[in-house]
Symmetry: C2
Subunit: 189 residues, 2 copies
DNA sequence: GTCTATAGAAAGATAGAC
DNA sequence: GTCTATCTTTCTATAGAC
């Protein structure tokens, strides 16, 4: 019984990690339950022993993806990079590519709009956490918290990356990402 | 012959307008050719007399949607609003709702990432035009052109609206939109 | 819990009548 | 050019064996 529960939990996590990766890269509609299960080393039929629907998996995978990239952005985590290190990483061409890490806030922005409340709640929760982390960085840097400024910073990061991913011109994407970096690195924002 | 060609052109435009509206509101995968044709007052089978594929229709509909909202943003158009009027309109809760107008750059940002080059080229072209219009506003206002700043402004507008549409919390969305407006109205950007 | 098999629905694209 | 009918594929979700 204890072993079974442990095994089920591990399997569930494997499914979630596969889902977080595949959904972020390809969007909800282009990934089937089959794809996720295959990536996790299982088959279709086993899915419903872990989740009740594809939408539920999607919502949970957003939280999973956010946690795996978000640990690196919490300034209270001793392993987290500096604010400028965060900017460089987040607004990099590697992040745009999405092979190693992918923030679901930027990779799934408009994908979320078409989903049910279960999914949109998950996205909203992750966005609030993202802004809260930027608030913490503000406090560390300047001693003051300014949520308006944190939201502007969030838009510049998430929006900049999302647009850089949409456009089909690598040079323009580089210029766009570095423009966003410049807006955040100077005292402007 | 002349009448037929004129009629075909009108029909094609009706299809494009329906597509621009439905795709922007619902994304590529949730709108079928059937939905578009029904909205245009026709049926499925007639579609392929006008377009060769759904992807081609999507690419063209992005240009159509951009033109219908973009005329209002070109400062060289005498009917266009002031820069601050543009900010207010673009970052409004009505635009977030999308009933009257919808900028495809913000409504389809991550949707584009999954499509073929035909579609991504259209999006990229529209984005470049958007930045160019912001450049023109800069010149009118301050006499100097600053493309880096125009890109930052574009990200704040497009990204802010896209995120406001994704989150499931009207109050937070209002706060987010007004934060973006504040960033653009002050001399900061 | 995981498998194979399948039901049932939706949608892109084509064929052929008018 | 537009219609109806259809081919074909894809995918969610369920049933039942092990």
């Amino acid at each position: 019984m204890a072993w079974n529960n442990e095994h089920k939990k591990k399997t569930r996590e494997r499914i979630l990690n596969s889902a977080a990766k595949l959904f972020a890269q390809n969007g909800f509609d282009h990934i089937g339950i089959n794809d996720v299960m295959k990536d996790a080393g299982l088959t279709r039929g086993a899915f419903y022993a872990h989740f009740s629907s594809k939408a539920e998996l999607y919502a949970e995978s957003i939280i999973t993806a956010a946690m795996s990239t978000g640990r690196k952005t919490d300034p209270l985590n001793p392993e987290a990079p500096s604010f400028d290190g965060l900017l460089k990483t987040y607004l990099s061409m590697e992040h745009r590519q999405g092979d190693l890490f992918r923030c679901p806030l930027a990779f799934l922005t408009t994908d979320i709009t078409q989903r049910d409340d279960q999914v949109r709640n998950a996205y909203t929760r992750v966005f609030k956490g993202f802004v809260k982390n930027l608030d913490k960085h503000s406090i560390q840097q300047s001693g003051t918290k300014n949520t308006t400024r944190s939201m502007q910073q969030a838009v510049m990061l998430i929006g900049g990356l999302a647009i850089a991913r949409a456009i089909n011109d690598d040079e323009l994407a580089k210029e766009l990402l570095s423009s966003c970096h410049a807006a955040l690195a100077t005292p402007a924002l």
